[in-house]
Amino acid sequence: MAQQVQPLPYGVGHTSRAWIAWVAALAAVAIAGWYGWSVEISRGMIVTGLRDIGPMGGATWGLDVAFIVYWVGVSFAGITIAALIRLASLHALKPIARMAEALTVVALLAATFAIMYDLGQPLRGVVNLFRYARPQSPFFGTFTLVISGYLFASLVYLYLDGRADAAALARMPSRLRWFHRLWAAGYRGTPAERARHDRTAFWLAIAIVPLLVTAHSTLGFVFGLQVGRPGWYSALQAPAFVLLAGVSGLGALIVIAVIVRRTVPDAEIPDAAFRWLGTALLVLLLAYLYFMVVEILTNIYTGAARERDVTRELLFGDFAPIYWASVASFAISVGLLILRIVRRGVGLGLLVTAGILVNLGAIGKRFLIVVPSQTHGTLLPYGTGSYAPTWVEYIEAIGLFAFCAFLLIVFAKVFPIVPLNRAPRGGEAA
């Protein structure tokens, strides 16, 4: 635009060819995922590898459910970081707060899609959940708290937290000004406004933390309350879900933060943030590994026959490759994270590797939580079942990654993915 004299900060509004190529590619993959869903809708879930538990010897929950759990887990990061900044005054994390919040929102959107993918009657799902949802069902938490409450809260948080930046951008001429004005909604940055925002942010953080624990626990209860599935019925499920959510969420955040630091112009994410992320990930990871050991020990030491069967199947049977690959990815990540600390550098490479590895491990673990208890965990002697996802499920899952990435990179072009640096002095931005 002619009157644009100065580019918006952090590349907002500036589209490069590479960016367009990325957007196109990601959109294509996301659309491919939805094409998979359309096939599923028109022909039924027969196009998936899922089948009935029992005589059919299948798993009725598979990749879709693993990814519901995974995406909800990833959403952990944003709100946690935001809440920690407020509650624990971890100001070093401020530059990654926005991307963390955005990650939460897109991850929850992905989780919503994954849920829809998994419903036999998605349309009925939308209507009947609002109409009939029962508090007794562990799904109640998933549908109401996670998808509605959590997603809504995250949007509120993202929105309120971005108002100051929106107002700043709205002062600069660009094609996106209308959008920034809309977002700013009259924000002028008066001390009263800032004070109010600090107060709301604090109280929101307070309100969100229990929601966060409840939401992730709720998802754990979906599995942990089921006596009929060996390997599921465990009090550890809920806390383990919270932990693994933290692991995958922080891992994903690290990856995004590094990408932002490398690609977004002028984006300065301090090393301290990465140090903190690395350490936090390490702590959560170690805690999660501890949980894993406790779980395995309980199951092989005192588990009922079928519990032991499922555990044996995990450790040595059909699922051993996935299990040990997951364990290995966690273990290697632990090593990398410790190495980073020992070396005293920032170790972005190590961090990204660990971030990717823990996410792969988390996906593997989610899959292992969902599937073996169905195929190898029937309490009546149906025999061993099997489950192999089909292309539909794979394309749907991949599509969701593309969808999330698409939203994030588009978001980064309409709004600063890193908060404008105006503290402690105001008006310094760009």
């Binding site: 879930m45 089948r51 009935d52 005589p55 036999g120 998605p122 959940l129 009939y132 006596v227 002697p381």
Partner: protein
Amino acid sequence: MARYGMVIDLDRCTGCRGCMVSCKIENNTPQGSYWMYVFRFEEGEYPATKVRFMPRPCQHCDNAPCVKVCPVGARYKREDGLVATDWQRCIGCRYCEVACPYGVNTFNWGHPEEHYYFDWNAEDVAPEVRGTIPAWDNPSLDEPYGPEQRHIAGGGHLKGVVDKCTFCVQRVEEGLDPACVQNCPVRALIFGDLDDPESEPAKILERRPSFRLLEEAGTEPRVHYVGGAPPTSETRQIEPAKAEV
């Protein structure tokens, strides 16, 4: 009010699977979907081989895990003891299926009408049967049943909806036995009001030792087994029915 239940006499069951077929015909279940399933078990090693049979309908648990987990109340417990599935409410999340320790739920993975056992609309069948409903379409199944007047008679068979044994609610409400019970050639299946001490199943339970499947799961099934014993970890299923879609 009558509270129904079933007694299965394992000392009489010959594993013929007639109940499975009569269930399929009565309820028009598509291929691969068995509301009633008859296990054939083998135990021990040659020559001390044991072979035995165990029919497995839905257990219609009093503390049904499937009822507890259903997010929309499509799966519910009726006062007469039946665990019903409202196929007009089910959203197809299949939580009931993973929650059930007995593996009794079946999901309509594809279009059920493409998976019936013969094609009513086949080019040269159609002229012959025109003007009549398909043999596999039981009109009793499409009606709402019970005081609650919900669609629970298994006529759903809709793509993306969960089905299971209904104890043939459409027959029970007319005072008939479920199709499997009526058809059992050796009277191994006995159905009736377990609360009525004069009913046939109640009398059998009074007289003979019985067990319920996975009692330890606390599901309180309304299906009781007499004769024989529950399967153990040494029990192998043989001759599984083909369940493919």
